[in-house]
């Protein structure tokens, strides 16, 4: 179970352009880190590097458990990391129920978690609709379902609230708080500040 996320000397570039270098950072359970900075500053790349989807030029991403001994990266990412990017990975042709079911099955879920997800994000009326018929906000809530349906320690969110309206932003903020209370960690790339006490890392100033 991931308790601490440690970045040491992390250097990431996209193509020829270096985004940031020698980034050191430690995030402990219960903390949320907000990534700010202009478009293209590397927020998404940092999230993808933590999730292991992007190979850093140098430096390491480390996960430690409660009493500090390091976890195997592959194992930790396969069982303890959620990555919610701009693209939600949903298949337009299938129904919301099938897609939520697949995403939670694939990431490992509890039956209790699944019902809780549907209730937390008001997905009940959407379940029998085909995904392509959902609005952007509804699709985002459906994609967020897996965060609650398959409890995992580290949430990596890329501008999660963008398509949501005020009511569902507040609901999501509550889910984030609930996750933090349960010793979860969150790293979120945001444009407008999160309604939670957060640490911030301005990627714009790093290069």
């Amino acid at each position: 179970m991931i308790h601490t996320l440690t970045l040491s000397d992390l250097t990431v570039s996209r193509g020829e352009r270096r985004l940031f270098h020698d980034l050191d950072l430690t995030l402990r359970a219960g903390e949320v880190l907000a990534l700010t900075g202009a478009n293209g500053a590397g927020k998404t790349s940092l999230l993808r590097a933590i999730a292991g989807l992007l190979r850093p030029d140098a430096g390491t991403v480390g996960f430690q458990d409660g009493d500090g001994n390091p976890l195997d990266e592959r194992q930790a990412r396969g069982r303890e990391v959620h990555f919610l990017g701009h693209l939600d990975g949903l298949k337009g042709g299938r129904t919301a129920r099938e897609e939520l079911g697949f995403q939670c099955d694939w990431l490992g879920h509890t039956q209790y978690g699944l019902d809780h997800a549907v209730e937390a994000f008001g997905l009940k009326p959407l379940l029998d609709l085909e995904v392509r018929r959902l609005s952007a906000g509804q699709r985002r809530r459906l994609a967020m379902g897996r965060l609650v349906g398959s409890p995992r320690a580290l949430w990596l969110l890329d501008e999660p609230m963008a398509p949501l309206d005020a009511r569902w932003r507040e609901a999501f903020a509550e889910q984030m708080q609930r996750h933090l209370d349960a010793d979860g960690l969150i790293v979120a790339a945001v444009h407008d500040p999160l309604p939670l006490p957060t640490r911030t890392l301005d990627l714009g100033a790093l290069t």
Binding site: E16, D24, L25, L33, P197, D202
Partner: protein, 83 residues
């Protein structure tokens, strides 16, 4: 001695050798021209150093890390939690 009389098969031997020579010459020319071009370009770029001396931000791509690992800029750790 050198026998260049290919009579019955001249139409096969000469094209074979001719095209082979042509292609090999083309390959050589292309390689040499490209080599000279980038050699000149590199010399020009390295001759007039960029506005600020080109040694701080040592690019990792073409040059392996020799000497101690440099940390050109103290990393900007996360700002303390905002109350």
């Amino acid at each position: 001695m050198l026998d260049l009389d290919m009579t019955p098969y001249a139409a096969f031997v000469w094209p074979a050798w001719g095209v082979s020579a042509l292609v090999l010459a083309a390959l050589t020319a292309r390689a040499v021209v490209a080599s000279r071009k980038w050699k000149r370009e590199l010399a020009r770029l390295e001759a007039d150093p960029t506005p600020e001396a080109a040694d701080t931000n040592r690019p990792q791509v073409a040059r392996s890390a020799i000497g101690p690992k440099e940390r050109p800029q103290a990393a900007q750790g996360a700002v303390g939690p905002k109350e």
